[in-house]
């Protein structure tokens, strides 16, 4: 069991809105670790689309992804990649 976190800057121009949020949740759900994502004071469950949407993380804002469990490290890696490589709607 381990807990890992990483802070990432949102690159998607439209921010973490419905579609990229869905992508994030789908990826998070592949891991058994407990996953949270927080922006400022707000912390939400990373496997809940409603929660992730609530963050309303705009382009350029920083969020922290935290995973707690056996596959924490690979979860954080995969999720950081979703936030970083998704450049969506050109």
């Amino acid at each position: 069991m381990s807990e890992i976190d990483r802070t990432v800057t949102i690159r998607n121009r439209l921010g973490l809105h419905a579609r990229p949020a869905g992508e994030f949740v789908k990826t998070a759900s592949r891991f058994s670790s407990k996953i949270t994502i927080c922006k400022g004071e707000l912390e939400v469950n990373g496997k809940s689309i409603m929660g992730v949407m609530t963050l309303a993380a705009e382009c350029g804002s920083k969020v922290t992804v935290r995973a707690d469990g056996d596959d924490a490290e690979s979860a954080v890696n995969a999720l950081a990649e979703v936030l970083d490589t998704e450049f969506g709607d050109l």
């Binding site: 690159r11 121009r13 439209l14 921010g15 809105h17 419905a18 579609r19 869905g22 949740v25 759900s29 469950n45 496997k47 809940s48 689309i49 409603m50 929660g51 949407m53 609530t54 309303a56 705009e58 350029g60 970083d84 490589t85 998704e86 450049f87 969506g88 709607d89 050109l90």
Partner: protein
């Protein structure tokens, strides 16, 4: 004094509807508070799950219907709703309220939905507040599935005359259902042009007004009204004359639609027989068919950025060659003008992500990126050269501000041509290299560009933004952002005059060419080649056929002497009135 019968809002989907009002004030079913017994918990959980799966099926159907009648992008809205509906953590919390607090399924669901809604409503993010309509859509459906009472029942009651439905908030799903029912117009207190429901209403050609101010609750069911989705107004208790007048106006609008259809088959010549060349802009490959259907003479702007969407590696040479050739096949006798990657600013592929810049629109973008990333640029150039072996493709550079940028690109083209020659790969010689004029710097340098390039294309949005130092995406500045500013008008004049002196083909490929007033101005200034979005092509062709160059020129002459954008607008509007009925058209807001 304003007319107290007139409600004002934002027109989000054009057209006129006349009919009795149907105010849906209680769209959300009333839920009474009731506590269940311990042994009822399992049954209640079962009811919840069944309701969720029923609603899922409903939304799937709406999604399919939307896909067929509106489009792929619109259908995605429902994909997001399904994800929200099935959010396991949200449902988990609803279930624990049922288990631990012994609430009914509907009460528990409503409670959690209100919690999320409150949180979203307080968010500073307007994007998130827009999504509340999606949440409402789901909530209504789930509650209705649980307590009964459906929209169909309500609509049935509305009577047999096509009704105008007003509600506090319009959801995408309801919009689709209204279209299938006996409804001729829609209005809501919340929402803007960007709302999902508005997008769908436009696709379905359902007149719609949003952001109605002054409230709708005082309106009586069955009151006659005229809803005007073009002007964004609702007139209640109209007189016979007003209804007749609206009908005439709507008739003319429909007649215009008919004329636009007919115009597609006609040559694009002005009333005084000057030939105007019309081409299409292509953002995505699927748009090409519409460009051809609307009988454009080739593609004036083929954007290449879509090839970078959603991938981390750059597209290869073969892939690009194949794509350019496939597009060009649609136009055996006309050119296809390929624009090199216009990346940067606010759009960047993963492979070339740069440092965050303080002013991205004044930074590393467009031709500047291409020249600094020669591998990427050479691959694109090779693909264009290879496509030119088979078709008349040409190459255009965005955001040029220095002669050296053209020279360096020309050198790359020469080097890659020689390499292809040595490799024995077929390619087309003499690739015409064009320059996009999008900055005041470029506008002043057209005579120098002329020696190095084959054609000039004016990007009016960027030219306006850089001339006026106004961010085109800044809503606060929206009323000052206008291509009719005299400074822009004068630059446009300079560009066309210099190009003509130098015998360079000059075209306009910005949005400006598809707006009636500015098209009149451009023709008056001497432009004869335009490239617009495929949907705008029939309107532009029709407008060209109504205009005469003589009148356009006299309007442009006055515009060149005008002190303000408002004066430019007024002279153009006045001359336009001579040629067409401006009530038929959306002329855009008066700048100022």
């Amino acid at each position: 004094m304003s007319d107290p019968r007139l409600l004002k809002g934002i027109g989000v989907s054009p057209g006129i509807a006349i009919g009795p009002l149907y105010v849906m004030s209680a769209e959300m079913p009333e839920i009474t508070h009731r506590v269940i017994a311990n042994d009822e918990v399992e049954a209640e959980l079962f009811r919840l799950r069944k309701a969720i799966s029923d609603v899922r099926r409903e939304i799937e159907l709406l999604k399919e219907h939307t896909l067929i009648h509106a489009g792929k992008e619109e259908a995605k809205i429902f994909g997001a709703q399904i994800l929200m509906l099935e959010d396991p953590y949200f449902l988990g919390e609803v279930e624990s309220l049922i288990r631990e607090n012994q609430l009914t399924a509907e009460r528990a669901f409503e409670f959690k939905a209100l919690e999320v809604r409150d949180q979203w409503a307080q968010s500073p993010s307007s994007t998130l507040r827009q999504k509340i309509a999606d949440l409402t859509g789901i909530q209504i459906r789930v509650l209705q599935a649980l307590v009964g009472g459906s929209l169909e029942d309500v609509l049935h009651e509305a009577g047999d005359r096509p009704a105008i439905v007003l509600m506090r908030e319009l959801t995408p799903g309801l919009t689709i259902q209204f279209e299938q029912a006996n409804v001729s117009g829609l209005g809501s207190e919340y929402g803007t042009r960007a709302a999902h429901a508005a997008i769908i209403a436009r696709s379905l050609e359902m007149p719609c007004v949003m952001g109605i101010s002054g409230g709708i609750d005082h309106l009586r069911r069955g009151t006659m009204a005229i809803l005007d989705g073009t002007l964004g107004t609702i007139l209640v208790e109209p007189t016979e004359e007003e209804m007749a007048e609206a009908q005439v106006r709507d008739g003319r609008r429909l007649a215009l639609e008919g004329e636009l259809k007919d115009a597609v088959g006609q040559p694009s010549i002005t009333a005084d027989a000057v030939t105007i060349k019309l081409r299409g802009n292509v953002d995505l490959p699927e748009e090409i068919e519409l460009v051809a259907e609307n009988r454009a003479e080739g593609v004036g702007l083929l954007r290449t950025e879509f090839m970078l969407i959603g991938r981390n590696e750059m597209p290869g040479e073969d892939e690009q060659t194949e794509f350019f050739t496939r597009i060009a096949k649609w136009f055996p006798t006309s050119p296809v003008i390929i624009r090199s990657y216009d990346v940067g600013g606010d759009k960047f592929p993963a492979a070339f992500r740069s440092q965050r810049e303080a002013n991205p629109f004044l930074g590393w973008r467009a031709i500047r990126v291409c020249l600094d990333e020669p591998e990427m640029f050479r691959t694109q150039i090779r693909a264009v050269l290879r496509a030119r072996a088979l078709a008349d493709v040409r190459f255009m550079l965005p955001l040029v501000s220095q002669v050296e940028e053209i020279e360096r690109t020309r050198d790359l083209v020469t080097e890659e041509s020689e390499k292809l020659e040595r490799e024995g790969v077929e390619y087309g010689a003499d690739l015409p290299l064009g320059v996009m004029v999008e900055t005041p710097a470029a506008a002043m340098m057209v005579d120098q560009f002329a020696e190095k390039s084959a054609f000039i294309s004016v990007g009016t949005n960027d030219l306006t933004q850089y001339t006026l130092a106004i961010d085109r995406g800044n809503a606060r500045m929206a009323n000052r952002f206008t291509a009719l500013h005299p400074a822009v008008v004068r630059l446009l004049k300079r560009i066309v005059d210099t190009s003509n002196q130098e015998r360079l083909e000059v075209s306009v490929c910005g949005e400006m060419a598809s707006e009636p007033l500015s098209l009149l101005l451009l023709i008056g200034l001497g432009y004869k080649v335009f490239s617009t979005s495929p949907v705008a092509l029939p309107l532009v062709r029709w407008l060209v056929r109504q205009f005469d160059v003589f009148t356009a020129k006299s309007a442009a002459d006055v515009a060149l002497e005008a002190p303000t954008a408002r004066d430019v607008y007024e002279v153009l509007e006045w001359r336009l009135r001579d040629m067409i009925d401006p009530e038929l058209l959306d002329l855009g807001p008066l700048p100022g």
